[in-house]
Symmetry: C2
Subunit: 202 residues, 2 copies
DNA sequence: AGTAGCACTTAACAGCGTTAAGGAGAGTGC
DNA sequence: GCACTCTCCTTAACGCTGTTAAGTGCTACT
């Protein structure tokens, strides 16, 4: 897992072949089949390990308000996904192998229901923020594989030229394809404001 | 494009090989390279065509309120993505080839700014709802490739057994992995409520 | 009649995930 | 001390993938 995750950051999801991983481990590719049923099982395990490291790296306070908790949990998730090239795609294409993820979820749901939400509302709130975060980072990593790098084909000047006939869309694009940190926060704030308003809690 | 999109629904993104498409067209695989630079260019064109059909299939009223417009546009997007197996993954892994998509975007932005939002706010509102919808459908299609079908490995009974120690998470899961239509609407409503509240418009 | 360009074929390449068969080495039971 | 079992790996191969190179008819124009 350690080798696979390190390699993921170097070569990306597309370059992450069984032969590459095996070579890094001084082993031949079929040897991996002793440890994993197939490549998907390996990716599942990678996603689970990413999640484990995320939980370990996110400090959660039991006295968080529901707003604080949703903010922290989702920021933590985004940070974890951004820590790996194609992190969001690996994540959303895989399933967790254990039940550890349920632990944090249980905790969040307990906190949200204690704050006055019904279970259904709490589930909707966590799920919606989760899906937003995942969608956001997926797009973000499509443009910016690792913080600092930029994928080719996203030339903003050319985009501006092409969209000359659509001034609002052109200006909005400049807005959208830059400063991801701030824009993520704004979107998340919208969602949390919506939860408060719609479910009548603060 | 027509053949490729039809085939996508039959065999899924994984089964959509150049040889399959070529066979369906009574042609050999390398012939496709006369028309497309590479497979990604073909996928980009497929995504663009999906978008075109979406626009054609979504009735937009110029007198929509901003809430109606955001609802319609995102429902239309979800419906379009659900119309193709792995639609969301094709979509988020590709880039539009033309500038047609800017037209609808321009329209939405004009409507939102006319309703009292700044351009930055309008961009944030559209982008956040878009990313939510994309994230939602990506997960939805991971469980349910086409409406009616269900991917294997999502046995709710077994899930309930595994999560016996986490009653809230178990109950929330039953909530989350079913009735996608309703849950999508609820999440979208949360977001739109948040936009109204945060930006002080109705 | 000759030339240019279009749309295609055949052949091949390296690389992919995966399977089958077998082998070295440690540990256990008699 | 020998046989057996289990673990972890290797070698060889399979069918498949996207992609390139080279060549082949066909149409249209000069």
């Amino acid at each position: 897992m350690d080798t696979a995750l390190r390699l993921l950051n170097e070569v990306g999801l597309e370059g992450l072949t069984l032969r590459t991983i095996a070579r890094e481990l001084d082993v031949k590719a079929p040897a991996l089949y002793w440890h994993f049923k197939d490549k998907q099982a390996l990716l599942d395990e990678m996603a689970t390990e990413m999640y484990r490291r995320m939980v370990a790296g996110t400090a959660l306070d039991p006295d968080d308000t529901w707003r604080e908790r949703l903010l922290k949990a989702n920021r933590g998730l985004r940070a974890a996904l951004l820590g790996y090239r194609d992190g969001a795609r690996v994540f959303s294409g895989s399933r967790f192998t254990g039940t550890e993820h349920a632990e944090q979820m249980e905790d969040v749901l307990r906190l949200l229901t204690a704050a006055g939400l019904t279970l259904a509302q709490a589930a909707r709130a966590t799920s919606t923020t989760y899906l937003y975060t995942l969608g956001f980072v997926t797009e973000e990593q499509g443009v910016q594989p690792l913080p600092g790098e930029r994928r080719e084909g996203y030339d903003m000047d050319e985009r501006a030229r092409l969209l000359a006939d659509f001034p609002l869309a052109a200006a909005a694009g400049a807005e959208i394809f830059a400063d991801y940190d701030r824009h993520y926060e704004e979107g998340l704030a919208l969602l949390i404001a919506g939860i408060g308003a719609q479910y009548g809690i603060d």
